[in-house]
């Protein structure tokens, strides 16, 4: 019995089918449910922010209080002093962080989506084998391969250079996986054929037909990649102070122990801001481009 028959039978049995239309009460229930669930995702953030305003004695209470009782901006006010004691000016770390995050994200998205396009629309042999490899590769997270990877980094002379930030993400498979799935579902062959008949070469097709069509996916990747690279700490791979990025500064501050716990939280809160900005910027266009996700077959 197929699902269709099942429901037809069921409907025949029930003489009066209850019609579902959302009432005001339904609307309120919907919002209430979403608020309840949303609280669970929002509370940790509030907790972080509230902790960053706690004076020292409140930080030491166990079990910790959720909200701060006597807020102080001391944790933030002390940051310039802590920064001043760094050997390299803070601006250098900021330039490194922003530059590396931006450059790596752009290169990564291009490499991954070109590969995804090639796997989903190319004609060469072994495409399926490559895609199975991608799925297999998804199973590995960075830590598992840390030691062998480190050996390769040092053999290639990447240790203690900017390349250590930029090159390793190239091997990531998440972008290729998501990209391939999305291109297959949303970029019709007819569209590509039409572009080719109009005389566009493959690079042109990729850049001006495929990329705009798959905007949601590259905005999503943009967000993830930026987030990961922004907060990455390449431990043991960067030694020169001039090449370090902001999360490493945070680590130095946290190393101050309990007395610095408030400041550590303050820095953590500040560090959260750029990914949230990237999200807000991409979110509006994600929503917009998802709803008009292009031609349907």
């Amino acid at each position: 019995m197929t699902i269709k028959q099942y429901f037809q039978d069921k409907r025949a049995k029930k003489s009066a089918v209850k019609r579902y239309t959302r009432s005001t009460a339904g609307n309120i229930a919907l919002v209430l449910f979403l608020v309840a669930g949303g609280l669970f995702s929002l509370l940790p953030l509030i907790y972080c922010v509230s902790t960053s305003f706690k004076p020292l004695d409140e930080l030491l209470i166990f079990p910790p209080r959720f909200l701060v009782h006597r807020p102080t901006i001391g944790n933030y006010a002390i940051l310039p002093d802590l920064m001043a004691s760094l050997r390299v000016p803070l601006s250098r770390y900021i330039v490194n962080s922003v530059g590396i995050s931006f450059f790596t994200t752009v290169v990564y998205i291009l490499v991954a989506l070109m590969a995804a396009y090639s796997i989903s629309k190319g004609t060469f042999k072994g495409r399926n084998a490559i895609f199975w490899t991608v799925q297999f590769a998804l199973m590995f997270n960075a830590y598992t391969l840390a030691v062998p990877q480190y050996l390769i980094f040092s053999k290639l002379g990447l240790i203690d250079t900017y390349w250590i930030y930029i090159l390793p993400p190239m091997a990531s498979t998440m972008g290729v996986f998501l990209g391939k799935q999305y291109i297959e579902g949303n970029v019709p062959d007819a569209l590509l054929e039409a572009a080719k008949i109009d005389g566009a070469n493959q690079f042109k097709v990729f850049w001006s037909i495929v990329m705009p069509t798959i905007k949601p996916i590259w905005l999503t990747l943009l967000l993830f990649t930026f987030r990961d690279i922004w907060s990455a700490v390449p431990s043991g791979k960067i030694f020169s102070e001039e090449l370090k990025i902001l999360p490493q500064v945070v680590t130095q501050i946290t190393a101050g122990g309990t007395a610095r716990a408030g400041s550590a939280m303050a820095v953590t809160v500040i560090m959260m801001i750029p990914p949230i900005i990237v999200f807000l910027v991409s979110q509006s266009s994600v929503a917009e481009s998802m709803s008009s996700a292009g031609i349907k077959e």
């Binding site: 979403l34 498979t173 493959q202 996700a293």
Partner: protein, 300 residues
């Protein structure tokens, strides 16, 4: 270029472009992924000693696997825990994120705000923040040097339960439950976004037609929404399975990390490889059944 076209045919040319597009990624994959992976498999059959002048390996065959499966009494326990938590998390996460995505897909005021809210964990859930939230044990607290611990601090569960005259077991249960809800909601962000994208790609005309035919919301879900989402469900399913298996909070992965930090690369490689083997089998079975019985049914 035109000469090439004539000589080799358009198919050949297309495949050449295809290879060109994929080349940069393939090179990265080989250098930073395949070589390390082969190394890591090799380590699992070796005794590995890290010395100042590099890594020394001695071939020991299956000794490491024998050690974890027959000698170490804990390995099977961790394996079982990991698979169990996987088995109950996967359906809950999939159903919960689909429900939330469908709710967020409704038209109501402030839905952009709510979408952002549910996606928030994905954005800020990195390293530090996560460790603050999921820290519940005392050793963890001590090692962090902060009296943090989200679930412990958020709502004073102990106060609540003692006020209501409940036993410590119930208090334990309540705080465990709160932790689990956190865990789940915080694992749903990406899934919700993927489902949302899928929902929005369903043509509105299908729903209009079904409304004219007088279908109930329930039928609408099973005849339109669910079939149209079957591809994206597979995608989300694979993504979630992978997340659950390699998640740093999976009991077995946690142990492997511990051993790696301790420098036991041989044993930890064997541990993770055996785990991956089992994970791959489970995922393979799940994908097989989904494509065979769910997707095939609608494609006909």
């Amino acid at each position: 270029m035109s000469k090439l076209k004539k000589a080799k045919g358009i198919e050949e040319l297309k495949s050449r472009y295809g290879l060109m597009f994929i080349l940069p990624w393939i090179i990265g994959l080989i250098i930073f992924f395949f070589i390390p992976i082969i190394q890591s498999i090799y380590y699992s059959f070796c005794q590995v000693v890290v010395t100042s002048d590099g890594v020394k390996t001695t071939w020991v065959g299956l000794d490491n696997y024998n050690e974890i499966l027959n000698v170490d009494p804990n390995y099977e326990k961790w394996l079982e825990e990991s698979i169990l938590s996987f088995a109950y998390s996967l359906p809950i996460i999939l159903v919960l994120s689909l429900i939330l995505a469908m709710m967020l897909n409704q038209k109501f005021r402030g839905r952009i705000f709510f979408r952002a809210l549910y996606f928030l964990p994905v954005i800020i859930a990195t390293g530090k923040v996560m460790s603050y939230i999921f820290t519940t044990t005392d050793e963890d607290l001590a090692s962090m040097g902060v009296s943090g611990g989200m679930a412990a601090g958020m709502i004073s569960v102990e106060d609540l339960t003692s006020a209501l005259n409940m036993g410590p077991e119930i208090a334990e249960f309540v705080s465990q439950a709160i932790n689990n809800i956190f865990n789940l909601i915080w694992s749903c962000g990406i899934q919700i976004v993927l489902f949302l994208a899928g929902l929005q790609s369903i043509p509105a005309s299908l729903y209009e037609a079904s409304k004219v035919e007088g279908a109930t919301k329930w039928e609408e879900f099973w005849f339109i929404t669910f079939p149209m989402l079957s591809r994206i469900t597979l995608l989300v399913g694979i993504f979630t399975m992978v997340e659950l298996f390699v998640n740093e909070r999976a009991p077995l992965v946690e142990q492997v990390y511990g051993k790696m930090r301790g420098g036991q690369y041989d044993i930890s490689s064997a541990m993770i490889w055996f785990y991956f083997l089992i994970a791959c089998v489970i995922m393979g079975i799940a994908i097989f059944f989904f494509t065979k019985f769910v997707m095939k049914r609608y494609e006909a």
